[in-house]
Amino acid sequence: MEITIDIEDPMPLFTQLVEQIKLAVISCKVQPGDPLPSIRQLANDLELNSKTVAKAYKLLERDLVIQSKGYRGTFVHPEAKTNSRVDLNKEVLTQLSSAIISCRNAGVTDSEIRIAFTNAMNNKNNEGA
């Protein structure tokens, strides 16, 4: 199974990697439990910075598509196929759109929404919530 990324593509490289690996899982080209290449190997093969691959792996691990087993390496998560279909970005967009519509209906201006959003993002109390 091979993956291909395009360095000229406007989509960020780590997103391309995440999408490609999810696609490989959905199309059954990799199976749950299959080992994946190390960050260093994949970074060198794709001529990318290791941090880019590490970021993609971290996101895939968060989405339960892959799992790291310490020195044994990284493997495809047992529930990877189901979890690969979950699009967190789409979910975030839906929830934020709904919140923005509610605010507008209440008469809040766009700039007030932006300021409130920035404040909410910067609020330390919201971290990890």
Partner: protein, 287 residues
Amino acid sequence: MSINILFYILFLSQIILISYYYPKQIIKRIESVLKNYPPESYPKLYPESPEKVIAAKARYQLLNQIILLIGLVLLGAYGLMSTDYDDNQKHAEGLPLMFGMVQFIPFMLLEVSGCRQFRLMRNANKCTSRTAALTPRRLFDYVSPLFIFTAVVLIFTYLFFNLYINDFVITNSFLIQIFALGLVHVLFIGLTIWHLTGKRLDPHQAVKDRSNQTEFSIKSMVSVSIFFSLFLMANEALDFYQLGYIEIMINSIYFQVIAFFGIGSMLKTVRIENINFEVYKADSTSA
């Protein structure tokens, strides 16, 4: 006299194998690539003009012919010289080793030239897409654990054997041999790590071809490690049993074995017809 005759045969075999037979096979490969995969159809294979490849091939051929001639002269000189020694007297035992090192110079130059070609290929590569396999390259995917285990056991066997026959006295010669053994193995381990996780030299090389090359390289290094330990053990044993006059033959055999597992298995394993040359076509997007 019989020892001398045996050595003549072995040394002649070393000269022919490393400076005639294998170079001839390599030249045939270069010619086959030039003929079947011309620059018009496979431009990515030629970062420089094909004339430069032909010139490099001619230089390689000439260098081997000169070394072949030197080898034959040395064989003649040895024939004249050896009449002054008894059959069981150790003499000129370094000849096959020193000459063997000279015989490997054209192969090393060819490797350097290959690395230069790959660097030019990388510089000329304008392709923006990058392909990688989604499978890990792990050591035991390419070589059996038993093979590695044998190599490691032989290193320790050699160390124990050397200490045993020297009454567990650590001599300077032993330390030098340990240093040489260590250096060779550090190089092998470094090369293995590079093959498994490092960047590919050829930016267009197909994933399967890279895998084949990794397998061949790791197997060759393990084989060379095994024969290096055996060679050192054989030399120690010859000294201990005062059979130093056989050392000259062991040295010649050693170089031939190294050539067989290095160049010979490369020619046998990495076959032209199995290499994916489609990636070198102008319209190919693989990188």
